[in-house]
């Protein structure tokens, strides 16, 4: 992809490496992550705390606390231009203007000593050089747009005077103020009540329809993702372990980690059955296990998983899985999940896809009995 090429994707993260140099050693928070986002598309990045999903977003924004965090490799291309090699000034011009971000906890992410109106209007004043009066008018319009009741009266109120949902709306108003092309939402609903979560997601969905921006939705909540995202990237220990269009992941995951995640959410059609959690804890990033990082928690782990790190196999048109036994997972989950949502991809179809560098051993189904018991 040549820089500035018209066919470049809106945003492309390519082999991104971020490490945190701490007293306990070097933590590889992001270890070779690649994904692309097209205009108008929504990419959901899924993973537990510490999987590197937020750090990837911070690297795109250029807001990693440094030290201890350092981007040590890879590229972040916005319309073909590498953000990582830009000058400080160029980078600053992209932030807020082209790519903007909504943070998880709006109470701490908004400045407590300035009115919300000031903080929204600041976007117009600093980026567009608008006057006080004009920027105020635009800020009130924006507050209306994110559905804050009595926006005009609340312009001068401070963040602590708003409810959690309203504060997140303010946060969103700031992020969309300048019509950015990419919006990164870092767990935008995690700190909120369930009903408010739904309202915020609804708002995001409406905004996506009105504007043609691409959205990167970072979350650990599978329920939030299903009806917003176009495609999903599942992250584990700083790497993408599975990437696929959203319906395929739900119907037929190709990685044991994704499989475990899906088993851990309540589903109407599994009423009465026990929810299963993924056993164990995510690895400490300074001590990632050899081989596949997921192997200590994986019920299907084989010797090869402990010694050899699986590459991200291309397993279908736009599907990828970083599991040595992805074919087995596909076959297993194809039947396990087929009863749930309408499965659009047959396991056999996906399995028939070409391009896999390693030959898969066929003996690898040790936990099948165990699984059937559930």
């Amino acid at each position: 992809m040549t820089p500035g090429s018209p066919h470049a994707p809106l945003l492309e993260v390519d082999d991104l490496q971020v490490e945190f140099r701490t007293r306990d050693g070097v933590a590889k928070a992001v270890n070779g992550v690649s994904y692309t986002l097209e205009q108008g598309q929504t990419l959901a990045v899924l993973g537990e705390s510490g999987s590197g999903k937020s750090v990837t977003a911070q690297a795109i924004m250029g807001i990693i606390d440094s030290p201890p965090g350092f981007v040590t490799g890879g590229r972040v291309l916005f319309r073909g231009q590498d953000l990582l090699t830009m000058s400080v000034g160029e980078r600053q011009a992209v932030r807020g203007e082209k790519i903007s971000m909504v943070f998880q906890d709006a109470l701490s992410a908004l400045n407590p000593v300035y009115s919300v109106g000031f903080q929204i209007a600041e976007m117009f004043r600093t980026h567009r050089g608008m006057s006080r009066g004009e920027s105020k008018k635009r800020a009130i319009e924006l507050m209306d747009r994110v559905k804050i009741p009595a926006a005009k009266d609340r312009f001068g109120d401070f963040p602590h005077q708003f409810s959690g949902g309203m504060r997140q709306r303010i946060m969103i108003a700031i992020a969309i103020a300048l019509d950015p092309e990419v919006l990164i939402a870092d767990e935008p609903t995690t700190a909120l009540d369930v009903t408010v979560q739904a309202q915020i997601m609804q708002l995001l969905r409406e905004l996506l329809q009105e504007m043609s921006m691409g959205l990167i939705l970072i979350t650990h909540d599978l329920g939030v993702v299903a009806d917003v995202a176009d495609k999903i990237a599942v992250m584990y220990a700083g790497k993408i372990v599975e990437q696929a269009p959203v319906h395929q992941i739900y119907a037929n995951p190709a990685h044991p980690y994704t499989e475990g995640l899906l088993h851990s959410i309540p589903r109407v059609d599994r009423k009465g059955q026990q929810l299963s959690a993924i056993k164990g804890l995510p690895p400490i990033l300074t001590r990632i296990p050899a081989g596949c990082a997921f192997n200590p928690r994986c019920p299907y782990a084989q010797d090869v998983c402990r010694s050899e790190e699986p590459p991200l196999f291309q397993i279908g048109g736009d599907r990828r899985s970083a599991c040595h036994f992805w074919e087995d997972v596909l076959a297993r989950t194809g039947t396990a999940f087929a009863t749930g949502t309408g499965s659009e991809t047959r396991p056999s179809e996906a399995a028939a896809a070409p391009a896999k560098p390693r030959k898969t051993p066929t003996t690898a189904k040790p936990a099948k009995v165990n699984r059937a018991e559930r």
Binding site: I63, R95, A109, Y114, S115, E122
Partner: protein
């Protein structure tokens, strides 16, 4: 807000009564006879002494004396000193000098402590930070009388850049060195306080948001970071202003500044009850007002604080 201020002002009345009474009693308990002190080593003339004792109500019980004093203060009559000067006149001479000195010290604290603290906080762990931390530690460790005499000797006597002592009327430029000596300790504290809060807040989420909004680094620091970091610093500076107004006995003595500290020191030495009590009372009021000002400023700086 208005009601809060009124309540705070009303609270000053008992503090005023209590502090004046305590000082009144304490000064009476100090050894020595003020009438004797007037005549130095010779015994005073018995007739004159008796007349003076009568004139200053020194034979009445202490509560009665206090009552006379209070009545006077409420009509802004602070009485006359035993040496025959009106206390109000003494105040009118001493306070302007001390206010000037305090403002010089205050300005130095602000102008040196705040920017250096900001830079040190932004570069935590770097060379600049370490250097300022060590030098403030040195300043904090040196007693004021050492710093005062050394600077007076080096700059005033050896180099001859300024007059070693403050002359008549205490012109501003002669107060620069005493002001620096007086403020040096607080400079160190302001610097460290600023550094700590800045270093703490620079990682705050809202600072990251400000960066993510595409604001220039300068705006992120001055508008978003500094405003939040100022809150504890302002509290300290406000309380310090009250302390500076109290004059500095040591600094004023070294540089011969005819201010409040010097005056109180002399008055205590000569057992001048009216002078000491009046000065201290005014200082207590200044202190209370400075604290009220700090609390109100606090609410201005941080909208989450509301006084009802």
């Amino acid at each position: 807000m208005g009601r809060y201020v009124i309540r705070r002002l009303l609270q000053m009345i008992p503090v005023f009564l209590g502090s004046t009474f305590l000082i009144f009693v304490m000064i009476h308990l100090t050894p020595g006879d003020p009438i004797q002190a007037l005549s130095g080593n010779r015994p005073p003339d018995p007739g004159v002494a008796a007349q003076l004792r009568e004139q200053y109500h020194l034979n009445d019980p202490i509560l009665v004396q206090y009552w006379y004093y209070l009545k006077g203060v409420l009509t802004l009559d602070f009485g006359t000193s035993y040496s025959g000067q009106r206390v109000l006149d003494i105040m009118a001479r001493a306070f302007p000098v001390t206010i000037k000195l305090a403002l010089v010290a205050f300005a130095i604290e602000f102008a040196i402590g705040l920017p250096l603290g900001l830079i040190a906080g932004l570069r935590r762990g770097k060379l600049f930070d370490a250097t300022t931390l060590i030098s403030t530690l040195v300043i904090i460790s040196i007693p004021v009388f050492v710093l005062g005499f050394v600077l007076q000797f080096v700059i005033g006597v050896k180099l001859g850049w300024i007059r070693p002592t403050v002359g008549e009327g205490a012109p501003l430029k002669e107060l620069l060195l005493p002001g620096f000596v007086l403020g040096s300790l607080s400079v160190a504290y302001v610097l460290r306080l600023t550094r700590t809060t800045v270093a703490e807040n620079v990682r705050a989420d809202y600072v990251r948001t400000a960066t993510a909004k595409g604001l220039a680094r300068k705006r992120v620091v001055t508008v978003h970071l500094l405003r939040n970091s100022l809150i504890p610093v302002v509290t300290f500076l406000g309380a310090d202003l009250g302390a500076l107004m109290g004059g500095a006995i040591v600094t004023e003595a070294i540089f011969n500044v005819p201010g409040v500290g010097n005056t109180i020191f002399q008055a205590i030495k000569f057992g001048e009850v009216p002078t000491v009590v009046s000065f201290v009372t005014v200082l207590v009021m200044v202190y209370l007002l400075a604290n009220l000002l700090v609390d109100l400023l606090y609410a201005v700086l941080d909208p989450r604080i509301r006084y009802e």
